[in-house]
């Protein structure tokens, strides 16, 4: 309720609305109710009768109106005789405690209150003995001051506040303060905050605890709940790991107020060096706009990439224009097995496309004749000597697999099951290329691989001469526009434009249906002047997916039902130096290996953390056929660029097969390397590495508008109240009426409310006026 409205209310009804809300109504008349009722009847009945008996020039209606007004006045008087009163529990002065929790985080420095910092009001209202609200509270309570950020800490005065903490965890702070004041009569907790909690921890448990203990929260929301002018990169989601030379795709969420439609630069920096620059159009006020950025990761190692929008004129918060992401740019060599059933151009061009890529080892098993194979790019003389791997251990050494134009009957049933497990269990990437012996045409319907594929593979195998054929023009679907694999230009827009100019390709695999949950990135439409259809049955128009994927189990299954993507390279429409084809296939192979797990997988809850925050390490350990192992000796070797070293033993988590856990707390800023090695029985040692950047993070400046809904929820769910600085004047009195702590019941008369007198005067005046008007006086 607005202040002026509350003032009028208090003038008329003697007390504030809060007091009425907290109190209960009672009557304090010294006589018995029956006597009073009889007296009322003795007075009222003759009065009514006297009106009823009067005739003269009055009408029946006049008599009813006048009688009614007279009775109403008498009823008001009668009620007053009952002596109505408000029974209100109030804290006994100086017998109860109040905890005042003051947000000590950096967001309190934001100057969004007419150019004044949020902390200024704290200083004004709680800064000293004469400060308005603190003084009022101290008249009624014993006040305990706390400062809080990630937890609460007792302080003697606001002079000890720094407003420099880099985290706000409201739930933990109020719970900590409550526990500290658990032994004393507590009337409530006063929370002075902008509510910009960045702990990402739900507050429900703490509120339940406060309700159970009957501790109300009186929250004062500081700051503007909407900035006038601000641009914020709210979030950056990027792959934690990418192969060197690969395209890193980062998804940004950008929100702004006051710059709708403005075009601003978006810069990506790696160690201060600009690695990408684009111009984006800002969304409508308050809207959150997703933006996708592609960066080529050329430098190996942990890279802290900064995504930044330069500060625009008039911005209220400048620190939220940049976000960082830590990316592990791997310099390893990803080993991919390409099994090709027919010597054909597709394999030759794909090999050439990735030949110069030092991070991709494309091992080719080329069938050149029946039971005759050409092995290319193998590591040892005996690798693939027996043809396609016959055991899981042999197959699972590869991180991804490409099946070229090779029929299903080439594989034994066990090998087909192994291929499915390669995706499902091992978590590898599997790509099936188009060809007369691939997909349904190659007899894969009903095999374990049909289940894995992202497209429906059904129908009998087809003879070479009877296969479907279509000339297709490839174009990106909406999901494909921003996917890493399709980025063949400098920007997503340039990529989309380039796709539209690529020459036609052909397919001999008719794809009729994409599985639910699969994503089509590239589609093909019958090229202008092209052909499509089965032999002797041409179609007038035709469209089918060209690149589809789905997650299957732990891995990735991709369908690329095209037989001659090499046309993108050879076609005379593109210059000889054009690298579209190479880029596409390098990105394809990188994508296939991007999330493939190793035998040890280290995971950290975050890639960035503030110092002194505990970091939990989880390591999943498996054997050569990717069965989780609980009998490994697992050690995390921790190092940082600031010289920190420590070996931490990880223990098997009994609740999860193959998972080992441990925790460490970094003290100093730096990039910490977590290298986990697992020694399996038999002496095999396998390992994995992850990174975490420990730094004083600017999290306080993100999502820093005053979060009134959270503070209101805290207040209402605990029986307290939410205030703004403008309405906080009654805070001390409201806390006093909280009914918690040591209280006394006050009897507050209501009969003498100005509203009652006004009502009586109004009734009598109305009666007199009516008579006058009707000439009955």
């Amino acid at each position: 309720m607005a202040n002026w409205l509350e003032g009028i209310f208090q003038f008329l009804f003697k007390y504030r609305p809060t007091e009425f809300a907290k109190g209960s109504l009672a009557f304090g008349a010294p006589f018995s109710v029956v006597i009073l009722l009889l007296a009322a009847a003795a007075i009222g009945v003759p009065a009514v009768l006297s009106y009823a008996g009067v005739r003269g020039k009055s009408t029946r209606r006049d008599r009813w109106v006048l009688g009614g007004l007279r009775v109403a006045a008498l009823v008001v008087l009668l009620v007053c005789l009952f002596r109505p009163m408000l029974l209100l529990s109030a804290a006994v002065p100086q017998r109860n405690y109040v905890g005042v929790l003051i947000d000590d985080s950096r967001s309190m420095q934001v100057a969004d209150e007419n150019g004044k910092a949020r902390s200024d009001w704290v200083e004004h209202a709680f800064g000293g003995p004469d400060s308005t609200i603190l003084k009022a509270l101290r008249q009624k309570f014993i006040v305990r001051l706390f400062r809080f950020s990630s937890g609460a800490q007792r302080v003697d005065s606001t002079a000890q506040l720094t407003f420099a903490a880099n985290q706000t965890h409201l739930g933990a702070a109020v719970e900590q303060a409550r526990q500290e004041l658990d032994a004393v009569p507590l009337s409530g907790l006063v929370v002075l905050s902008d509510g910009a909690d960045n702990s990402r921890v739900p507050i429900g448990d703490e509120l339940l605890s406060l309700r159970a203990k009957s501790v109300p929260i009186f929250a004062v929301g500081l700051g503007a709940d909407r900035f006038d002018k601000d641009i914020e990169i709210r979030r950056v989601d990027a792959s934690h790991s990418v192969l060197r030379g690969g395209s890193l795709v980062a998804d940004l969420l950008i929100r702004q107020r006051g710059y709708a439609g403005a075009r601003v630069p978006l810069v990506v920096e790696d160690g201060g060096r600009i690695v990408s620059r684009d111009t984006i159009t800002l969304p409508a006020d308050g809207a959150i706009s997703p933006v996708r950025v592609t960066v080529v990761a050329n430098d190996a190692g942990p890279r802290a990439l900064t995504f930044r929008i330069p500060v625009q004129p008039g911005e209220q918060v400048q620190q939220n224009n940049a976000q960082q992401a830590l990316v592990d740019v791997r310099d390893g060599r990803e080993k991919i097995l390409y099994v090709e059933g027919e010597p054909r151009y597709e394999m030759r061009f794909i090999r050439a496309a990735v030949e110069a890529d030092s991070n991709i080892q494309l091992v080719a098993l080329q069938r050149t004749a029946e039971n005759k194979f050409l092995r290319l790019n193998v590591d040892t003389a005996d690798e693939l000597l027996g043809g396609f791997p016959k055991s899981r251990a042999e197959l699972f050494r590869y991180r991804a697999l490409i099946l070229g134009n090779i029929e299903a009957s080439f594989f034994t049933h066990d090998q087909l099951a192994m291929l499915a497990d390669f995706v499902n269990v091992r978590g590898g990437g599997l790509l099936m290329l188009g060809g007369r012996r691939a997909f349904a045409e190659g007899g894969y319907a009903g095999t374990p691989l049909a289940e894995v594929m992202p497209v429906v593979v059904s129908g009998d195998a087809v003879a070479d001469s009877m296969t479907f054929f279509a000339d297709l023009k490839a174009s990106l679907t909406p999901p494909g526009t921003s996917h890493a694999v399709s980025q063949i230009g400098a920007t997503p827009a340039a990529s989309a434009a380039r796709w539209n100019t690529l020459p036609a390709i052909t397919t001999v695999n008719r794809i009729r249906e994409v599985k639910p949950g699969a994503v089509t990135l590239i589609k093909g439409t019958m090229a202008v002047g092209g052909r499509a259809g089965d032999p002797g049955a041409p179609l007038k128009s035709y469209e089918q997916p060209v690149l589809v994927y789905q997650r299957y189990g732990r891995g990735l299954a991709i369908a690329f039902p095209v037989q001659d993507s090499w046309n993108w390279q050879m076609d005379p429409s593109s210059p000889a130096e054009d690298e579209t084809f190479e880029r596409f296939w390098r990105q394809m192979l990188r994508w296939m290996t991007s999330d493939v797990p190793s035998r040890v997988v280290v995971s950290l809850p975050t890639d960035q953390s503030n110092p002194k925050n505990p970091i939990a390490i989880r390591a999943a350990v498996s054997d050569s056929i990717f069965i989780p192992r609980n009998d490994a000796k697992v050690v995390a070797h921790l190092t940082s660029d600031s010289g920190f070293t420590r070996d931490l033993s990880l223990d098997w988590a009994i609740d999860r097969d193959g998972e080992y856990r441990g925790t460490f707390t970094p003290d100093q800023p730096g990039v910490y390397t977590v290298r986990v090695s697992a020694e399996l029985p038999g002496g095999t040692t396998v390992g994995d590495t992850s990174y975490v950047r420990v730094a004083d993070l600017n999290t306080e400046y993100f999502d820093a508008e005053m979060r009134a809904p959270l503070l209101k929820r805290m207040a209402t769910e605990t029986g307290g109240k939410f205030y703004t600085p403008a309405t906080a004047g009654s805070l001390a009195e409201d806390v006093a009426l909280s009914k918690h702590g040591v209280t006394v019941v006050n009897q507050m008369d209501l009969w003498d409310m100005p509203a009652v007198l006004l009502l009586l005067v109004a009734l009598v005046t109305a009666e007199w006026s009516y008579r006058k008007m009707r000439g009955l006086a």
Partner: protein, 282 residues
């Protein structure tokens, strides 16, 4: 003297006679004159009688024979040098390739046999990343053809040069090939192959000494094999191979007619198969 030797000798004599007459007409090494004056200008391209159109592209491996302008190295019914042995050579070769390897090449479709005929300045060339040129001694490309050839090679094309000689009876075909190659790729360096390169082991283990076409009739010159590596780096792919003083196409042509001993024909087939498998895998 057995029958096959007689046939071989007769074929050799015929080849020598045709070649000598051709050389005489041209006034020795290369140059104009001859049948290009008789049949048309240097910008006209011969159309073999056996040509009934190119197969429709369907993604399969298709043997592509390069045709070029002019009528040099004329050989009677076989026409100018580039069309020698057409279409029997490719028809026989693609059948052999289909039967012994996993390649599923185009072999025939109605009257269309064995191959596609493409010019170096024809965009269709780029549908056939592996191609074959017969008698490059008579190849006198214009700038447009040179540009097409250069783009073809740089984009990943592979070309087999066959049926030509160097220094025998006034023929300096390889010299001409080098000169034309220098126009297309000035920095490219020819390398003589030793027989140990992967191309000679991509399907068959080739013995170069045995892989001599018995019909080539190139005197006492033993064949040599030359190539150009991508970026002149022997670790990278061969972009082309030149059978100098050899004519494997002719051996393919006559292999089905009993004109060439099977064993000898086999050796030249081996070379062809290896070339194709190499080109499709490297």
């Amino acid at each position: 003297m057995n029958m096959s030797r007689v046939v071989c000798a007769a074929a050799a004599l015929c080849a020598v006679a045709v070649s000598a007459a051709d050389a005489q007409r041209r006034g020795g090494r290369g140059g104009g004159g001859g049948f290009n004056q008789f049949f048309g200008g240097p910008d006209e391209t011969y159309r073999p009688p056996a040509f009934h159109g190119n197969p429709v592209y369907d993604g399969r491996f298709t043997f592509a024979r390069i045709k070029y302008r002019g009528f040099l190295h004329w050989a009677g019914a076989e026409g100018p040098g580039w069309s020698h042995d057409y279409p029997d050579a490719e028809e026989n070769f693609t059948k052999i390739l289909r039967d012994i390897s996993a390649v599923r090449p185009f072999v025939e479709a109605g009257p269309i046999l064995g191959s596609a005929l493409v010019a170096l300045d024809d965009p269709l060339l780029f549908k056939y990343p592996v191609s074959y040129m017969s008698e490059p001694g008579g190849w006198m490309p214009n700038d447009k053809e040179i540009a097409g050839f250069r783009a073809y090679m740089l984009k990943g094309g592979f070309m087999i040069f066959d049926d030509f000689r160097e220094g025998w009876r006034g023929n300096y075909d390889f010299t001409n090939l080098r000169q034309q190659m220098a126009r297309a790729m000035p920095a490219a360096k020819w390398v003589q192959l030793t027989g140990k390169e992967p191309i000679f082991d991509s399907f068959f283990k080739i013995d170069l000494k045995a892989a001599v076409s018995p019909t080539s009739a190139y005197g006492n010159n033993l064949p040599t094999y030359w190539g150009i590596y991508q970026d002149n780096d022997p670790k990278k792919r061969l972009m082309l191979i030149a059978n100098v003083d050899n004519d494997i196409g002719e051996s393919w042509q006559w292999s089905g007619a009993g004109f060439v001993p099977i064993a000898a024909a086999n050796e030249t087939y081996k070379l062809g198969v290896n070339y194709i498998i190499y080109a499709l895998t490297h």
